[in-house]
Amino acid sequence: MSEKWNIILRIYRQKEGEAPHMDNFQMEVNPDEYVIDAVERAWAFHDRTICFRHACHHSTCGACGMRVNGVEKLTCITLIRDVTYDGATLKVEPLRNFPVVSDLAVDMGLFYRKMEKVDARAVLPVTEAEIENPPRKWASEDSEYIRLSDCIECGLCISACPIMATTPEYLGPAPLAAAQDHGIHRKPELLSIVDCEDGVWRCHSAFECTAVCPSFVDPARRIMDLRKQVVGTRLSKLIGKA
């Protein structure tokens, strides 16, 4: 059943101190493979100096986010069939708004530090209210099971957000979504972190983050909800004082 396609894998290359350029690799691929497999094969058989980041290959770790044909994707769950066709090129570039370590590998340190600043939850109860309503039906409702949170800190939303492109100081969609996941009422110290120039007020409703989020987090909607929480808290404080 494994069909064969001949594609040109066009990879962004950059070593420290050298000007970035694009390298083309003529490759035979199976369209039902994933983009990360093509990149890994380019490293294994074509050019051992290609640097790229990957780990779990099934969208739980968030390491393999890249721009595929200009759009942010988790390359481990993006089928080659969905992003190119036989005889075409497949352009792979690093995520935007992160310093490039080399080629496709970027340094997401500052992004992780922002997630730590809002103390984003890594694990949460399975029955925690889902963002969708009605909430997804879990196998057993009344359980006290714990699961890893939806956000896998892959950085796609950070790369897609037009405001993130203006300043490294902006918290960005994922940290704000994590703050919303806590809720200001449950974690009041978040108020001063998100109610500022680099917080919820910089979002200009492009909804790009939700468009590229691979993990059901819907950060844009959470930012809007966080805004309501902040306005509500500020108003009640004002009325409380008055």
Binding site: P99, D107, G109, L110, R113, K114, K117, I163, T166, T167, P168, E169, S192, I193, D195, C196, E197, D198, G199, W201, R202, H204, R227, V230, V231, R234
Partner: protein, 131 residues
């Protein structure tokens, strides 16, 4: 201008924006849609010119009813506030330094206040011309 963020720690919350600035922008927005709608109607229906625009005399007559200058001044205040807050938002997206931001903020405030004062004076003089 962009330094590597490799080792930069997460900076403290910067006070350039807050709930109130956003709320004012969000409240003046829909208010504007209503008042601007009114303004369009007036400008394109009540005027004596074929295109509906108002000549000098139309304007004077229109301003006799005291409610009109009041509405126009309200409209002026909302539109100036809304647009300058929005403009400041765009400036923020240019990642200005603290001093640049403060200078620009005060410039915008000055521009806004002088526009409003000038507008009020203009509306009152036009209203007085009629009597």
């Amino acid at each position: 201008m962009s330094r590597s963020t490799l080792s930069s720690p997460v900076s403290g919350p910067r006070p350039g924006e807050n709930t109130w600035i956003w709320l004012i922008k969000i409240i003046t927005g829909p208010l504007l849609v209503i008042v601007l709608g009114l303004h369009f109607v007036v400008n394109h229906y009540l005027g004596s010119m074929s295109s509906g625009l108002m000549t000098y005399d139309d304007v004077i007559r229109y301003f006799q009813n005291p409610i009109i200058p009041a509405i126009e001044i309200l409209f002026l205040v909302t539109v100036v506030t809304h647009s300058l807050i929005g403009l400041r938002g765009i400036v923020l997206d240019m990642n200005p330094t603290r001093t640049t931001l403060t200078i620009i903020t005060w410039l915008l405030v000055f521009l806004g206040v002088s526009a409003i004062v000038y507008g009020i004076w203009l509306a009152l003089t036009i209203a007085s011309l009629g009597s």
